[in-house]
Amino acid sequence: MTKRIESLRVVENKKINKDYFLLRLTSQGKLPEMKPGQFVQVKVDGSPETFLRRPFSVHDVNYSGNTFRLLIQIAGKGTETLSRLSTGDSINVIYPLGNSFSLPEKNENILLAGGGCGIAPLLFLARYLNENGFTPDILLGFRSSERVMEYDEYAALGRIFLTTEDGSMGKKGFITDHPVLTANRYDVVYCCGPEPMMKAMAAYCRANSVRCEVSLENLMACGIGVCLCCTVETVRGNLCTCTEGPVFNINDLKW
């Protein structure tokens, strides 16, 4: 998959709530093939505080419409500046970057587990799995009901399970507390979210001998494997999250 530096046009900037927005982007040419788990590096113009590009997972791709989406949480100046983009604006993007989630074996029982903006890559993954004949269960965790994002699109691709930390919606607790984990025997879990959540899920998977892949969000400078800033300790030594990841099998990590 050849990487490109390209100026992409904003087709839509949809505010989800005060913390999240969805950017839909299009290319003048044909979009390259992208895989679930891959990410893009976005140049943020007009923010003096933002020197480096910002990495975001590919949230969903619509090849026929030649668009793809990013689901972005406002975390600081860079994302705040991006949240003010309007239809017709252009942003410079390097993409597609990184590796991707693996495909499961036939007939395997699959769980997608995500929390917060970690749910971003899971929509693309769920759709991809569907297209390849799999129907995953999808477990989404949020802080509270106000933080819960629209999940209609996910619901079309698998069974949905929800948790909120305060119990204001779905099951109360963390995703690893959800009864779906005891009620079902999964063969593989694909997980993305805050590090504590991924570590908890990794512990569950280890304890239950479930295959598990997590998507890391290490700080990045280049995104293309040359700065060596985004490393994670693995059984094979320090590896770059941007090229050998962001998706790792937990057996490779020193968690």
Binding site: F51, L52, R53, C222, L228
Partner: protein, 303 residues
């Protein structure tokens, strides 16, 4: 057509735009973005004798108009280089320069000797200025006696183009440039990163696992330019200038201040094809100003 090519002794550069060590990987990572043979040269990331895992994560922090890194020379060592990297980079149609680093003088000497034997590597850049390793590294770049010793010993075993990369973390960088010249370096490159630091006020912790790291990017440009100007006036060997170059205007500042060539570092993270833009911008500038040879503007402000 303006003339951009030049020689350092018998080494020919097709143009004065080089990629800086540690920011351009082994070059291969940029092949998706442009034809790297268009560059005057590329400096590969630091190679050491042994395998190095580098420093713990986090190794990076964004700062105003710059970034800190504390990578700490992560690389797979010279054996791996000879076996796996050299065959690839020796195919590049540009000057491939190896950045060499060690903890002891003997490390540098052994490395230089082995790289001297690699036919397609016409030059090494002796990194005596890495702020991110405990032993060695910066000590060679901040202590005149150590600097002299390591350059002298390497010169004995290394017969090709020897570039010495200087540290900006000194009171008087000219002293070190003169030592390099006296000990037979063919050119000097400067600056490496400035030693800096950042604190994460939310977590109340240093932003880097190693607390301090190397500052690069536009923030350091004024310091880099000053040092290049000082050194270029003091030595007769060519000066390769770098530090914060983001565009051709920045590059031209370095030429006007006395640099014979420039390197582009951090800018490649933000635009992996920036070196080509810089090259074109330099050409345009010379055309607009009516110069026919890059050498006409080198050190121009001293006229």
């Amino acid at each position: 057509m303006v003339k951009l090519d030049f020689n350092i002794n018998d080494l020919h550069f097709k143009n004065p735009v080089l990629a800086a060590s540690g920011t351009f990987g082994y070059g291969v990572e940029f092949r998706d973005f442009f034809d790297i043979s268009q560059l005057g040269g590329i400096v590969l990331k630091a190679t050491t004798l042994e395998v190095r895992e580098g420093n713990p994560y986090p190794r990076m922090a964004e700062t105003p108009a710059g970034m800190l890194n504390s990578v700490g020379l992560q690389n797979k060592g010279i054996d791996h280089f000879e076996k796996n990297i050299y065959p690839v980079v020796s195919e590049f149609n540009t000057n491939v320069i190896v950045n060499v680093n060690g903890s002891y003088v003997e490390d540098y000497v052994t490395l230089a000797g082995r790289i001297n034997a690699l036919e397609k590597i016409p030059a090494i850049e002796l990194n005596i200025s890495c702020p991110n390793v405990k032993k060695g590294g910066m000590i060679f770049g901040t202590d005149p006696k150590s600097a002299r010793e390591v350059i002298r010993e390497v010169r004995k075993v290394y017969s090709k183009q020897l570039i010495v990369k200087l540290s900006p973390n000194v009171t008087d960088i000219v002293e070190f440039a003169l030592i390099a010249e006296e000990e037979g370096a063919d050119s000097v490159s400067l600056i490496n990163t400035l030693l800096g630091m950042a604190v994460d006020v939310k977590r109340m912790k240093p932003s880097l696992a190693t607390v301090t790291g190397g500052l690069s990017g536009p923030a350091v440009k004024p310091v880099a330019l000053r040092m290049v100007w000082q050194v270029a006036k003091a030595v007769r060997i060519p000066v390769i200038g770098l530090g914060g170059i983001m565009n051709s205007r920045d590059a031209i500042e370095f030429f006007l201040a006395g640099a014979s060539a420039i390197q582009v570092g951090t800018a490649s993270f933000i635009n992996p094809a920036v070196t080509i833009d810089i090259l074109k911008g330099i050409e345009n500038y010379l055309n607009e100003k009516g110069f026919s040879d890059i050498r006409e503007i080198i050190g121009y402000i001293n006229n």
